[in-house]
Symmetry: D2
Amino acid sequence: MLVVMNANATEAEIAGVVRVIEALGLRAHTMPGATRTAIGITGNKGAISLQHFENLPGVAEAIRVSKPYKLITLDLKQDRTIVDIGGAKIGNGSLAIIAGPCAIETRQQTFAVAEVVKKSGAKFFRGGAFKPRTSPYAFAGLGEEGLKMLVEVREKFGLRIVSEALDEPGVDLVEKYADMIQIGARNMQNYTLLRRVGRSKLPVLLKRGMAATLEEWLLAAEYIMSEGNYQVVLCERGVRTFAQHTRNTLDLAAVPAVRRISHLPIIIDASHGTGKNYMVTPLARAGVAVGADGLMIEVHCKPEEALSDGAQALTLDEFEQMADEVRAIHEVIN
Amino acid sequence: MLVVMNANATEAEIAGVVRVIEALGLRAHTMPGATRTAIGITGNKGAISLQHFENLPGVAEAIRVSKPYKLITLDLKQDRTIVDIGGAKIGNGSLAIIAGPCAIETRQQTFAVAEVVKKSGAKFFRGGAFKPRTSPYAFAGLGEEGLKMLVEVREKFGLRIVSEALDEPGVDLVEKYADMIQIGARNMQNYTLLRRVGRSKLPVLLKRGMAATLEEWLLAAEYIMSEGNYQVVLCERGVRTFAQHTRNTLDLAAVPAVRRISHLPIIIDASHGTGKNYMVTPLARAGVAVGADGLMIEVHCKPEEALSDGAQALTLDEFEQMADEVRAIHEVIN
Amino acid sequence: MLVVMNANATEAEIAGVVRVIEALGLRAHTMPGATRTAIGITGNKGAISLQHFENLPGVAEAIRVSKPYKLITLDLKQDRTIVDIGGAKIGNGSLAIIAGPCAIETRQQTFAVAEVVKKSGAKFFRGGAFKPRTSPYAFAGLGEEGLKMLVEVREKFGLRIVSEALDEPGVDLVEKYADMIQIGARNMQNYTLLRRVGRSKLPVLLKRGMAATLEEWLLAAEYIMSEGNYQVVLCERGVRTFAQHTRNTLDLAAVPAVRRISHLPIIIDASHGTGKNYMVTPLARAGVAVGADGLMIEVHCKPEEALSDGAQALTLDEFEQMADEVRAIHEVIN
Amino acid sequence: MLVVMNANATEAEIAGVVRVIEALGLRAHTMPGATRTAIGITGNKGAISLQHFENLPGVAEAIRVSKPYKLITLDLKQDRTIVDIGGAKIGNGSLAIIAGPCAIETRQQTFAVAEVVKKSGAKFFRGGAFKPRTSPYAFAGLGEEGLKMLVEVREKFGLRIVSEALDEPGVDLVEKYADMIQIGARNMQNYTLLRRVGRSKLPVLLKRGMAATLEEWLLAAEYIMSEGNYQVVLCERGVRTFAQHTRNTLDLAAVPAVRRISHLPIIIDASHGTGKNYMVTPLARAGVAVGADGLMIEVHCKPEEALSDGAQALTLDEFEQMADEVRAIHEVIN
């Protein structure tokens, strides 16, 4: 932490801040400058609260320097994490494609999509059995019945199953039927849920919250890891901004930013990240080009009849075309 | 819903959209314009999905018109809702002040603050026993032990107790000890939790999510009400923007905006809404002046030693001064 | 500036950073910490560029500490600036109300509004002769003809005239006819224009840019002052956020934030800050309650016929009512 | 436009709105719905102001449907615009790379960079002679002297010159020496400047404003085109959001969004769009993969000594590597 004093702070005020620092068992480094004095603090193991200093007399600002995360960092573990989902890997240099309908609706729909997903070479199938919906009156998923259909997809097509859990009972069920637990954007700071999946044996796909800073997102991963589950994949899915031509603004710079700090793999959700069918393929290409470990893509056999998020789903044909395009880019950049 | 066609859409494309509308059992109103045709849709009871139309040939845009909420609206209930918290009211024209420490830390701290809160004329005491913390390593509250101290505050000072629940077991405990359940910003779209408090007999204080639109916030209230609990108070606590001089940007226009649509009371959290001690009193004054039904304020006997959010807490003296100032404004505008 | 090293930075990397600092003629303060070393820099007169350090080996982050402004600060001048507009003051503790139509349209409209503005006790009349319009096809103001009508308003009602200039020729004209030059949000970083009004003898009303940080806004004021014109009034008019219930999100916390750093007066534009007629009065009340030095309010005799921004204009009756309400609040808080 | 009535609007209120519509010479289409009535308006040539309706009795909301732009649209011109900059093209399917230092500093620096830009196969050289700087005390460019160095670059290397103008006298100079005029983000709504370059014979590179919606940006292009200059290239350079890991959030979805509405070419500025050296290459790859017509990239021979924006400049080696990577992607996707 760095405490910056006012330009006209007195010697007594500076001494007062130093006393508070030392009373906390820390070391103060006073740096008199041309216009004002700054006081560096060292000796702390974790983050110090700004609040100890911001309201002291003569203080202009307290600036946090130490980052509050540990387990997610390259400082701690320099090898990239490879996440193993039932034998299929994310983070090993291959391009992971997780595709499927937003929500599991019927066996027919599910199988029609799974067949094309399998044919494209993708290894992961997504499908929501529990859907977080903004309106209490919207379709909220088939629940356990939907998860059972996903098991059939795994058995028939050999695809690994990724499905979202919204609460602790939901985690119990997803653990029973699926291969990877998805935590959605709305639950990124649902700490009870994060701790629960931190005690799961399944890997976790952690979506970025709608307005989460990079630090908050990484701390959500830290929550999961601090309970013992190190198999975490981050998923950028767009953030909320003033822009109105998309549902969310896809923040692809999150990929190099995460790579610089963390050993965890990161993938791009080009469907939620745009919200518009015609933008999904271009942004999926961009996600691969920026260096992501994979993609999450919503596919539907009849998007115009989808019970949830049809406007952003690719048709089966569009998905096959997209898969070809992104693989070509993945080859070129590796 | 309104479907806007491209300027060069063909007659066949227009007829195609009309067919889709009629196939859904709805009525199409074709409006040929100077440059393009628009097609109005009526006959729907709830909201129609944009997805049925956005990808049809010749369609430029589908614009949603109906709002997806019902129970929260003035259309449904024109009398303002008055929420009763153990006999004390919010929404009846008086100024409700909910004050107390961010987190319950010790009996001594709690009682010192409660005494001043009581003395100021406020009727509600807040204090977190379960704290959602961005970092897994930060103080997360005393849990049930903290709630028991809050009961003592009620007994000794006659203040009604408002405390946050983070999950279903937490709701069970808060229901046992407190008078009103707070749902925090991070949980505004935790639908399992919303449904659970919707089945509670206690009133609910629903904070706005960090990046929630007005519509999403009102739909979160609709979730609670759709389970049968109509005693909901909304709380604006600032939203996330690019601005860096505050922790959040307090969106006071939410007060007149909510009033125009909904019968629910709305209060302002000037502590989280600013994140800075020196801004709390001015923004509390503004919150009353804009017409809110009350305020939520964090107070601490020794903010510099607070285990959580000390930088934004008022001291006891500052709180008393603030209470005087806001009451004077409340009198003037009523 | 503070340079934070990676946790595993080598001694040689630390020494390398110190060498760069010393080569710039500055002093390095090395602070070894529990997990990483930070290096404070002092001795600089102005701001140092982060770029000297961010790409050096072993560096995690460079954090700017010194602020790049001087003339606007309380460090430099502790007395609050009082701006004199033709004998009427802003910043002297009174409540300055600047009211009038968005655009000057006709003499009749202008006089009808001016009469009510005068009657309300306000001292300043606003009216645009040059309007920045998002569309090239929208009404862009009457130009010099409009300014001449404003002169008649000054002569007849004794109101001081505030009018916007969009470019250097516009400043020449506004200087000729008006008492205060307004720089609009879109031009907050039009540095040619800022330097030009910095050489004017008229005081300047500087609106905050649509997405300007506090620092950028204060630096825009610094541009004006650095040319010799110290008569600057800041005007918060809302910033762009994801929120859709208003045209802009009014950031009232800017008032205490500016007060803490700068001696310049600050007022609130509750019309652009909301964009909705029914929100203007509540937010104007809030602006006074938060402690602003004044208000800017759009008034129109027939808002539904206004050629520009009618949706946010108050009617004459509404304006009179608002003026009464805000004066009552101003009295109470002073 | 669509006017949505309150659920409990009376017949008289509906008739009142229809009367206002017809008085404007337009046609009203009343659509009674299950819960409320909506009234469509047709017959307007341009956009109608919302303000005529929003404050009428019984009106819940007025929704704009017509877009206010014409010349930029595919409706008007279905062939993609190819912009000709001294014989080199943007928008013809090739990948345009505009590279060079942020600011022209010395002849030596300029030539060192130009040599590598030329060698990479790029056809366009950028370099600022007039720099808009947030602080009045920062280096603001060499002015005409810098432009003269750019002419030498054109003569020696055959590169086309792109340079920014900040005001009308600046346009005169850039016209004299360069091949394309850049309008920066801060000036995107400087309408005097837009009209001036609209009367230029040089093509214009129009950067998106820091918080500009797609519509505002396209309307800025419309300003230029409405004066007769149809040679406009759009440049996405990142928008301001809450995210702090980048200088700006690069909104790559703007590329497919613009393509769907407009015939104008669009390029990506990966330097300002990230603000961090280590992110430029990944985001440049993403920009090409998303389908942009080109890239703008800052390159410096010694970024750590750059007088402006060094933190985001690529070194000469990094630039060559980037150029190879983006060309490989461009080939694959075409």
